[in-house]
């Protein structure tokens, strides 16, 4: 009788690992869904200013970025202020209009996030804004970090 009991209690000492793959797969699928692959290689320095009155952009898929800042040169040097959209540095600013218009037709709820270096001058920001107005992409967001006191 006592031998009987011993046999029964033995297999219970193992933790059942059969469901482990399912658990991991669930985590995996969560991260696969939330991942946005291919971050852009930013070729300008954008040290963002800090601000208090922040809004969050929850839907990352609506966002298109424009980077404005001094160009990163080899050897940690900084060049002139340039504008970057997607992977390319923009050579002529009026070309932004057609780029952004095309993006707007693909995503009518487009939000343009302006990642502007805090040392940039307003002149180039205003020029880009004028192009955005012409393109019709009116929802913008001045990207800033959280102001810490």
């Amino acid at each position: 009788m006592s031998g009987h009991f011993k046999k029964k209690s033995k297999p219970k000492q193992d933790i059942p690992t059969a469901s482990l793959p399912d658990i991991i797969f669930m985590l995996l699928i969560f991260f696969m869904v939330t991942t946005v692959l291919r971050e852009n290689d930013v070729r300008v320095r954008t040290q963002l200013p800090a601000a208090e009155a922040l809004t969050k952009i929850d839907q990352k898929r609506l966002v298109s970025y424009i980077w404005i800042g001094p160009e990163k040169l080899p050897g940690l040097q900084l060049g002139n202020t340039r504008v970057q959209i997607d992977d390319a540095l923009i050579e002529d600013l009026p070309g932004i209009r057609s780029i952004m218009y095309r993006k707007l037709t693909e995503q009518p709820k487009l939000i343009v996030s302006l990642k502007v270096d805090e040392t940039s001058e307003m002149g180039i920001v205003q020029e880009v804004e004028q192009e955005l107005r012409q393109a019709g992409t009116l929802r913008i967001n001045y990207s800033t970090t959280r102001f810490v006191q």
């Binding site: 991260f31 952009i57 009116l138």
Partner: protein, 187 residues
């Protein structure tokens, strides 16, 4: 002997699933590493539509609070030199004036904050002023929400506007008209 052989055959026909978890783990770690969780934060604005032939509607002088930011980030508020930390109080005073002081706005709905920069103004200075202006409006909204019995404006939006599908009365009363002035044509 025959029974032993049968048992062996059965074991081999199963697919080994012990490594399944490891494979999944490897994929999981890959996605963990490549994921960027950081949420974008910033100051949201809506640009005015491009001007066609029509002129913008005339605005009475008293309804407009003009803030000028110059090349080195110094402020001129209603033609008076000012510091950045004065902006918030001045904007609140301007918006909530309700026609009392003839130098400030007639009503919150008509009040306009105009921020004008030169082409050499550092972006940092512009964002500072814009931030202070938005914070002034946020404080006004928070105050209104407290009068309506909410903790702050965010809980007003969550509890009243979104939960009851009601119009956002605070936002309608204080529409936060912040104008980014057109750059000067001669530039």
């Amino acid at each position: 002997m025959a029974g032993l052989l049968k048992k062996k055959k059965r074991r081999e026909s199963e697919i080994p699933t012990a490594s399944m978890a490891d494979i999944a783990f490897l994929l999981l770690i890959f996605f963990l590493v490549t994921t960027t969780i950081n949420v974008d934060t910033g100051i949201g604005m809506v640009l005015p539509p491009p001007l066609d032939e029509q002129e913008p509607p005339p605005v009475r002088e008293r309804n407009m609070l003009k803030i000028l930011v110059n090349e080195v980030g110094q402020l001129l508020m209603e033609d008076q030199p000012a510091a950045v930390d004065q902006v918030r109080a001045e904007v609140k005073k301007h918006v909530t004036n309700n026609g009392v002081d003839p130098n400030y706005s007639e009503s919150p709905g008509q009040a306009i904050i105009s921020i004008k920069t030169s082409s050499q103004t550092p972006y940092r200075a512009y964002i500072d002023v814009l931030d202070e202006t938005w914070m002034a409006y946020r404080e006004i909204w928070d105050n209104e929400a407290r009068i309506l019995g909410q903790r702050d404006y965010a809980s007003y939006v969550a509890n009243v506007v979104e939960a009851q599908d009601a119009p956002n009365e605070i936002r309608e009363k204080y529409p936060a008209a912040i104008s980014i002035a057109e750059p000067d044509p001669q530039q």
